[in-house]
Subunit: 414 residues, 2 copies
Amino acid sequence: MRQTKLFGKTRKDVSRDEKSTNAELLTKASFIEREIAGVYNYLPLGFKVYQKIEQIIREEMNKIDGQEMLMTALQSKEVWDATKRWDGLEEIMYQFRDNHGSEIGLATTHEEPITNIVKKHVESYKDLPIYLYQIQTKFRNERRVKSGIIRGREFEMKDLYSFHTSQSDLDKFYQIAHEAYLKIFKRLGLEAFSVEASGGDMSKEYSHEFMVKTEAGEDVTILCDKCAWAQNAEIAKIKKGDKCPKCGAKVTEAKTVEAGNIFRLGNKYSSSMGLQFTDQDGKKKDVIMGSYGIGLGRAMGTIVEASHDKDGIIWTKTTTPYHIHLLNFAKNVKKQARVEKIYNDLNKAGFEVLYDDRDISFGKKLKDADLIGICFQLIVNETKEDLELVFRADHKKVMGDYQTILKSIKEFYK
Amino acid sequence: MRQTKLFGKTRKDVSRDEKSTNAELLTKASFIEREIAGVYNYLPLGFKVYQKIEQIIREEMNKIDGQEMLMTALQSKEVWDATKRWDGLEEIMYQFRDNHGSEIGLATTHEEPITNIVKKHVESYKDLPIYLYQIQTKFRNERRVKSGIIRGREFEMKDLYSFHTSQSDLDKFYQIAHEAYLKIFKRLGLEAFSVEASGGDMSKEYSHEFMVKTEAGEDVTILCDKCAWAQNAEIAKIKKGDKCPKCGAKVTEAKTVEAGNIFRLGNKYSSSMGLQFTDQDGKKKDVIMGSYGIGLGRAMGTIVEASHDKDGIIWTKTTTPYHIHLLNFAKNVKKQARVEKIYNDLNKAGFEVLYDDRDISFGKKLKDADLIGICFQLIVNETKEDLELVFRADHKKVMGDYQTILKSIKEFYK
């Protein structure tokens, strides 16, 4: 992609309303553009990152036999009345009336709708287990929005729901989903760890949150570095400096962002909504459920919070919008042709290249490249025959001919 | 995919509220599930078709240099006040207040928001032209919904917006987009043709609608079979039996569904919202715009309307949820192993296979296969060594060994 063609310009300043590092950097680098408070558009650069995150999540959900579907944002009051959540969600759910006077809500989550749909298609134990997921837009009427794309009023989320004949079958899948989540975050380049959290009113057992350490975190986690025990401070009965209940070492405390969560729902929804199946013994029983969420924008924002420096974003290997930022420092026409050839060759080699072909100063190009944060900057200089490959994370340089450089890039992305 | 694992059961009857053929068949075959009137969930089978349609549209948009992004459903009143459309859209736009008392609307279209975003990134003629698109959820507070997924209150749409320095540059791109649209419909297997329609209040020139003939159509098109002249009856000054203004032959009339549309917007939005650029002569000028829409659910519903028979849906080559519906008619254990091998071999050969491994009667399997409408049914029979390949569209059969059958399938999908 030639940067002269790319829509979206970097900017120096952003609105003072952007209090979060992620929104500030992503806006400056033209990945996102704010529509209203807590509601962001993804510009082409941002959408490329978004698609990469989406693809990783989709692949891992398919691997654990998740079946993708697409549910609706518009919801009738009736479905949410069965669990008595319509009134409870009033503060956070956009609720209004349609042209017929019917009460409509914008889904903040989909336990009720999915339970209702599954009711129409599940009869017997033979129809279970089932794992259904979607990647879809959620809405939350948040009062305070100060975390950029980490907590928005409109956001894309992957939500998976599982349906089982027994608690033990749920437990088995819960572990599988737990592993899939760790895999997703690892693939995204996020150092996430699993933290025990409240199971809510649905379960005596813990649910799990996947946390990433960052100063921007809205959560506090009590954790033990020795044995990896970790609990959300909200439920932890111990505090920083106390002894770990598992290994006895002293626990510490960290600010964390919740990048995902998994819940055992048990029969909370199936029981109140009448989702039952006929078991092998001919008896009707409640379906046992679990739910598993990851926010896509939240993942993107968390990566930025966890991986940036004073100059800008540092994308991870799998989420970098392009593999290489090709910076043309040549003004001489002959050298220009050389840059064009490198651009074409890299594309042919299967790499995604953002080619800064703009007629601006070298300094501005370097500054923008650091801000945008693509993993590699490849500089074609007028005075040097060798190419210069700069690793964005630490600005370490490698000089060499095209083949040498290509080898380094291939090694990194393999 | 084993059908015993697939979520979604076929059903014989659907709600009497489903007046349209597309919603009736898609619901019976478990592609969709209605949430509320005019609002449909896509179940796994339906989502597979949806993804194929999405991919074709995305590829053709990228080919004409469209840059993908993602805008928001939530909109503030302010942005839509600039063009005075907030009040005008009141009847069709869901409008409500958020927790802060601010007026919020759910976007029915995105001319205002995209113009506002482009304003922040375009300064000079050097920044133009730009082509931006998204595939995103739109909402319309429709009073009457009777066309299934062809006209819903919540629907996914691809909307492209183009930005130019001049009318002639817009006209050039308008032709390119026109061709891309015909290509998309051709690839989808839809016989769509371009029809002149009102340019609205923005233009004296015609806009174009892409129509597909079907009894379910909400539009009437006056058309000439001889020279391909066609106009929406709403603007046509002639009627059925009159002489074609282009070639003099008698024109006919057809009920049609609008599968897409393209508009020259001119400076309607840029002028009222102040989207200007500095031209080569240093003068500020209005940016000239175009917009181009295709509904994804609408395309899917139109395919069903245009391609079905009394037994069910007949998917087109590129939109069939699976390439092959493998029907196991063998009960003998040895033959069972043979079906499993065929299933694995077809998967390895790169085909998407829905394998009906359910323990139900042959008759029910055949009936479901016809209803679901996958292009090929491959029958493994207990008493015959040869396989039986049935073409869903006309039920023509080919008998042969695995290699012969594979050749036929490959030939069709190549």
